[in-house]
Symmetry: C2
Subunit: 194 residues, 2 copies
């Protein structure tokens, strides 16, 4: 059975960077934006849409869920279709090879299908605020507001599709504060557990 | 400045065992029941009382808090006196030498006073239930009920005395699932972070 590392992360915690470095250290692929491309190809949705709707869920999405009809007679609407494709792509990846997968409920999707190490990366609010401005640039919203919104939408998406709590210790095997331990040490610990 | 490792833990997660092994590996003292003795000596309370009331708080304690008068004119009651002695003993220990401290809000008490690595150990409910029967024996209450009660009381105590959440990732630098990772691996990770 392949060994999969799934990485859940707070926005701005450096989870994506940690995932990439762990994969590099272990010589296995890391699926983050690479996952988007595959899901977009299989679903017919465009990458930006997959990026926005495949890992977060806004309150308006929750409310507006209904019969939007994407031509798949057995899917109720856009989000169900996207979820189904995403689930399928993640299962196929895990079946094919050992890898690191970032976000997208991979831990939950693979819970009975692969040998997973489930990691959650979090960090101090102030350090995350600094990081998102450095990595993604300024925006009209203040950094703290952006963080809270993105985390809330990730949490909503995760908890809509699973029966466990996003960011709660019991959902993961190990939870690491990247602002206290540092990116490098997080990478080292995760790789040592593989 | 001394380096202190504080270990918060769910009941039955093996946190105490992990703490002892980490301390042994690092050649520093571990304060768990040793802490009780010191607190008992300084406070005048008996060890069993310190053990029961210095790390957990039952709902009846919360309700019955009032003027119980322990002869300390500036302490409102028994629990405040115990807390104050506990706080003092923990600060003195941290000032004296590097060590591992189990529970008792040490992470919060030392937040501005020492260089701390704050760890939380948790585990799968079923494995914890097995463990408490092995370690502490049977009791009239079913294991799961005992676990839930003890955790609830630890949480109540912690959150009464601090402004952060017990068992919440952000309260700690690292959170480890001992049932998934194993005691030995947890010890190795914590020691490597020291």
């Amino acid at each position: 059975m392949n060994r999969i590392i799934t990485i859940g992360r707070e926005f701005g915690s450096g989870g994506r960077t940690i995932a990439k470095q762990v994969a590099e250290k272990l010589g296995i692929p890391c699926f983050d934006s690479e996952l988007l491309v595959r899901i977009a190809e299989e679903s017919g949705f465009d990458e930006k849409f997959v990026s926005e709707r495949g890992d977060t869920m806004s309150l308006s999405t929750v409310i507006s869920r209904g019969l939007s009809g994407q031509g798949y007679y057995n899917y109720l609407n856009t989000d169900d279709h996207l979820w189904e494709v995403q689930r399928k792509v993640i299962c196929e990846l895990a079946e094919k090879e050992s890898c690191v997968i970032v976000g997208r409920c991979a831990d939950y999707i693979l819970r009975d299908k692969a040998d997973c190490l489930n990691v959650f990366i979090y960090a101090d609010m102030e350090k995350r605020a600094e990081r998102i401005v450095n990595v993604y640039g300024e925006s009209s919203d203040a950094p703290i507001k952006r963080l809270k919104k993105k985390d809330k939408n990730r949490k909503a998406f995760y908890e809509y599709h699973t029966d466990v709590r996003w960011g709660d210790t019991h959902t993961y095997d190990i939870c690491l504060d990247s602002s206290e331990l540092g990116i490098e040490k997080c990478v080292e610990i995760i790789a040592s557990l593989y």
